[in-house]
Amino acid sequence: MQQLGMGQAVKQALREEMTRDERVFIAGEGVGVSIHDNPMLPTAGLLKEFGPTRVKDTPVSEAAIAGLAVGAAAAGLRPVVEIMFNPFFTLASDMIVNHAAKLRYLSGGKSTFPLVVRIKSGAGFGAGCQHAHNLEAWVAHCPGLRVIMPSTPADAKGLLKAAIRDDNPVIFIEDMMLYFAPGPVPNEEYLTPIGKAEIKRQGRDVTVVTWSKMLGVALKAAEQLAPEGIEAEIVDLRTLAPLDKEIILSSVRKTGRLVVLHEATRTGGFAGEVCAVVMEEAFSSLKAPFRRVTGPDIPVPASPPLERFYIPDEKQLIAAVREIL
């Protein structure tokens, strides 16, 4: 099996889908010629392979980039556009929230908007809060959008290919730190279904629900807990919308305990939604109150010790697990 970083896996997905379907094109700031010439980055090299008709470098115009996707999708293409950093989503948000998400509904189901907005996300590279701000709960709150946040290169590839083939608008959020962490990716072609979570580690004592980069933190914590006889089951959501409730509920019914772990800030974070689903539908299975392990309610700070303080780590997760055992 090949070993790829998530950026390389994304690139493979883009290359395969662009080769398969001429309607697929990519656009964004620096998707062709970039200030970063690192081959681990998702679109590096695609301009050379596919040419400037299908790899469109845009001006610094996030609203136009997102609108390009909405209009091109309405007219029958399958755009994959990139928002360079998650905080810049706010500049594109009218097109995504008021248009991509709503126009099918407003057409009474006549129109489809098969578009993908890839968003580069995550803290950990010291650039501070206007380049790092995980906003997945904002988009997951908007009916009409699918929201994907993969945690492994293999999932990223299979989910992005599925997203490009899906007839709905998909927000595909990539954690940039994962670009540089190689993992196994199948050599043969495959799709990963949207809306299906995956149990990344089996366990009987506590359910940890997480996604994206925090999967690594959860797995590390589980390894540290195992020698003490505490077996954590780790549910990787992969897709936030639609939410795979069944896998969460069946795991919690088995373990009776729940911790939700995400990097985004706490108040209004998606952990609240996961916990609410469990309270509504599996309350009687809970042996203890749930816990949330999240970023604190602060903007992502720039200085290394401050940023490390912001990003949840395995110590915090282990402490939360111990509290409810």
Binding site: P59, A69, A75, H99
Partner: protein, 321 residues
């Protein structure tokens, strides 16, 4: 430029249909419980949509805004389906999901009416990009108001359309009011068309109450776009005779100003011209008006007799399953 008789008759008919359609809405929206929500009308601005759409092919795409009724009817939308949608009925073009403000009629290539001011501009760029990408011989028209020219999306869209040489016609329907603000209170330049210079595209001011002038400008812009010469900004100077919704008493619009513009109404002006040129007889005109009255009456009857959607139908059409 010669305009064929048939084209002139088509434009007259299209303006008369819009006018009759909206006159009936003016009355109907005052009846308690009949039509939900806001009622934003383009009465008096019909020369813009009717003139532009007469210059388009059926494959060309239009993106519309708050005052969409004329644009859509001129592009060929079914008055029954539009009226039923305005009533919120299941037989409406969007099954009651959009109402009067967001009418989407993809079957006539009018896929999006947006009431986010300036929201149509980036989408129009995307549609035009698709036309260029697929090497189609057609263009995209984005209708927007003078208020939308104050939005950031205006800048991003015109810049990108020009940069990529897209087949798009930006039609600014300058009706001198954005909400309660008069043009001079929200914009310093005399002509929005002047802004085209900033994007290296042609900008043209036309009398928005002269349907033939609008038609000719749109035809020129379309020809440029099809020839691969890129976008054009056309500013149609017209006037907002109705308020920002029928509940707006227009206290901020001087009465003599409204009266003066009503004198410049695009319909009598063009009707008299067509009659004077003997392109149509008075009898033929009366017959045309009678047909249009019947079409609108039929649309109203259809809307009134149609059922409302079942409440649970609200859950449908969010996603492609």
């Amino acid at each position: 430029m010669q305009i064929a008789r048939e084209k002139k008759i088509e434009m007259l008919q299209s303006m008369l249909l819009s006018r009759r359609f909206e006159e009936s809405l003016t009355e109907l929206c005052q009846v308690e419980g009949k039509i939900p929500g806001m009622m934003i009308l383009c009465t008096g601005q019909e020369a813009v949509g009717s003139g532009v759409c007469a210059a388009l092919s059926s494959e060309d795409v239009i993106i519309s805004n708050h005052r969409s009724h004329n644009h859509l009817l001129a592009k060929g939308a079914d008055p029954r389906a539009i009226m039923a949608e305005i009533y919120g009925k299941a037989t409406g073009c969007n099954k009651g999901k959009s109402g009067t403000l967001h009418l989407a009629v993809p079957e006539i290539n009018a896929p999006c009416t947006t009431t986010v001011v300036g929201g149509g501009l980036p989408i129009a760029v995307g549609v035009a990009f698709s036309q260029q990408y697929k090497k189609e011989e057609c263009v995209t028209v984005c209708f927007f108001g003078d208020g939308a020219a104050d939005e950031g999306s205006f800048h991003e869209s015109l810049n990108l359309a020009s940069l990529w040489n897209l087949p798009i016609i930006f039609v600014c329907e300058n009706n001198l009011y954005a909400g309660a603000q008069r043009y001079e209170e929200h914009t310093r330049v005399e002509d929005i068309a002047d802004r085209a210079i900033a994007y290296a595209m042609p900008g043209e001011v036309v009398n928005g109450n002269d349907v033939t002038a609008v038609y000719e400008a749109a035809r020129r812009a379309r020809r440029r776009a099809i020839a691969g010469d890129g976008p054009t900004l056309i500013e149609c100077k017209t006037y907002r005779c109705r308020g920002h919704g029928e509940s707006d008493h227009q206290l901020y619009q001087p009465k003599d100003e409204i009266a003066a513009w009503q004198e410049k109404c695009p319909i009598p002006r063009f009707r008299d011209e067509v009659l004077a040129q003997e392109l149509i007889t008075a009898e033929e005109l009366s017959a045309m008006e009678a047909t249009i009255n019947a079409v609108v009456e039929d649309a109203v009857r259809f809307a009134e007799e149609s059922p409302y959607p079942g409440p649970e139908e609200a859950l449908e059409d969010v996603f492609v399953e």
